[in-house]
Symmetry: C2
Subunit: 343 residues, 2 copies
Amino acid sequence: MTTGSTAGPVSIKEVAARAGVSPGTVSNVLNRPHKVADETRSRVEQVIRELGFVRHGSASTLRAGHSRTIGLSLIDIANPFFTDVAAGVEDMAGELGYAVLLGNSAGDHAKEDRNLRVFAEQRVRGLLITPSGDDPRRLDVVRERGIRVVLVDHRAHRPDQCSVAVNDFAGGHMAAEHLLATGATRVAYVTGPFTVRQCRDRGSGAAHAASEAGLDPGSAIEVVEVPAMNARAGQQAAERLVSGRRLPDAIFCANDLLALGLLRGLLQSGVRVPGDVALIGYDDIDFSAASAVSLSSIRQPTHKLGRLATELLIDECENPQTHTHRQILVQPELITRESTRTP
Amino acid sequence: MTTGSTAGPVSIKEVAARAGVSPGTVSNVLNRPHKVADETRSRVEQVIRELGFVRHGSASTLRAGHSRTIGLSLIDIANPFFTDVAAGVEDMAGELGYAVLLGNSAGDHAKEDRNLRVFAEQRVRGLLITPSGDDPRRLDVVRERGIRVVLVDHRAHRPDQCSVAVNDFAGGHMAAEHLLATGATRVAYVTGPFTVRQCRDRGSGAAHAASEAGLDPGSAIEVVEVPAMNARAGQQAAERLVSGRRLPDAIFCANDLLALGLLRGLLQSGVRVPGDVALIGYDDIDFSAASAVSLSSIRQPTHKLGRLATELLIDECENPQTHTHRQILVQPELITRESTRTP
DNA sequence: GGCCCGCGCTGAGACGTTTTAATGAACGCC
DNA sequence: GGCGTTCATTAAAACGTCTCAGCGCGGGCC
């Protein structure tokens, strides 16, 4: 029934002409339907359907001064954590009638800048960003352009800015507390570089749990820092631990990939998990439940994180006067499986 | 040095006024710099920097009739395969100066339609899509709107359309051939529903490899169809196989998640891999190398897939006259690890 | 010296939408 | 019947950029 499929884009004018009204009325039908008489409205809607009219977003943006698009700048789109966040963002944005412009910085500042520039050109309504690096000033440049920003997985450094992050301290605390509750007294914390805030916070949480349990964090928790946070690095950590003087009672890995690699290394060396060593990871990636010994882990509400951030951003954009800035800290969740089961 | 940071958006006119030229000249500096005298050009560029001018993409799109944005519609952004494709797309699009609008259909036709509508409103220059379902007519609707489409991970059903896909037949062939070369004669093919084209094709490839090896595909390859393609389904398949009359010599899983779940199930039942049964997966996800027994797999050039598709799409958009439509079929690659190692 | 040419720049629309002030019609009221 | 009021609709102007016809100027050619 799409009679108008001959010529390409149909404008509001053609709809108006065909419906016998003025362009302004068609615009009203689209944007303030209540202002239009019922009979006129249904006639216009009919023509819109017949002609397959689609509003020209750019014209609309140009006139309105702002778009219905938000930018999403991620550090690493190949990382399951960010992917789940992105899915949440896309979800909520879609529900609220916004489109998502994707940018993947891959940890590269130059690429991030390029993406931010593109976002600025597209006049995104707002920006969700998982900032690469800790320098807050990079973002101020964007904010000076008048683009509203919500930080994702990073606490805002100023009160007039929203952010949504997971409580990494609590997650580390949870993990260590669980290990200590199984009877462990000597715990290894296998982590990526401490330049990564998440690694630091999780470690602090673990240390705090140790001191709460009446232990000296310095001696109860041995920090094993590895250069990367993937399975290979985990396997290397296993070799290091096995060749050490004495194995710890339990191991907390800053990330599931590390834990899986480590698990593999331990099993190959004849170390039993959880018999000889208990093991817990972080992130609860899909595969954790399917590994040789199913892996206990700390689950982060990633999808929810994305949804929350989007909601916050769009509220800030649409209701700037009533909006109150919030720094949301979501709680992670302990998932226990075989790798920390007491016999 | 951004003197103009007071008022928000700076227009081309203000740049023109400050540089003592006409708006048209500024536009020329931006779009055809060679048409402008050196001295004028550098003066304008200087003012652009001073004022922090950023071209208004919507105005540009409105005037030009097309944007510098492409749409990317994925079936499941949480799936590592699509994520890697997306990373490739974002990469290449960025290099070519395009922005990427992200849509995640989550297998839901209604959501896909909604996304396509948004893309149409944004007047995307072109569209990359991993179609959900096999119905080609859904796409024709988009094409009638004049939006160029490149199919990803799906062969085009018409010669006047580009597509980029991985050769699943070859992948299945490769996997089975490898298993047969290790001495197996009875192979199980554990797969998701045959309504999924990829599952069908990989199965056909495996069958073909069997007949090439002089075996009767019907009896040499036992098809075990499970409802999902995740680790849980794999574990269920393991139970089914173990409780069967006789274990096959080797197992080919349509996907690594299936394989990992299956591996776990087998090991728990005391079946040795590769001792009793050889096992190979598909996709070569990151974790395959880190599982209890490292998993042989078929690697798909996902990142490259995304880059190729983007290149093809943008060529089609920018050079419609010289562009020749291509249905590219990329070859997968066999990765052998412990799970298919002969003693 | 007149003519043409090309270079560098200008100025005026046009793209499609939204919005505001103005218009017209219908209606009740004094 | 004139007047104010309300309601639905209209016409026109703006948003910022790009393009195209055209203008002035200097230089080379006959």
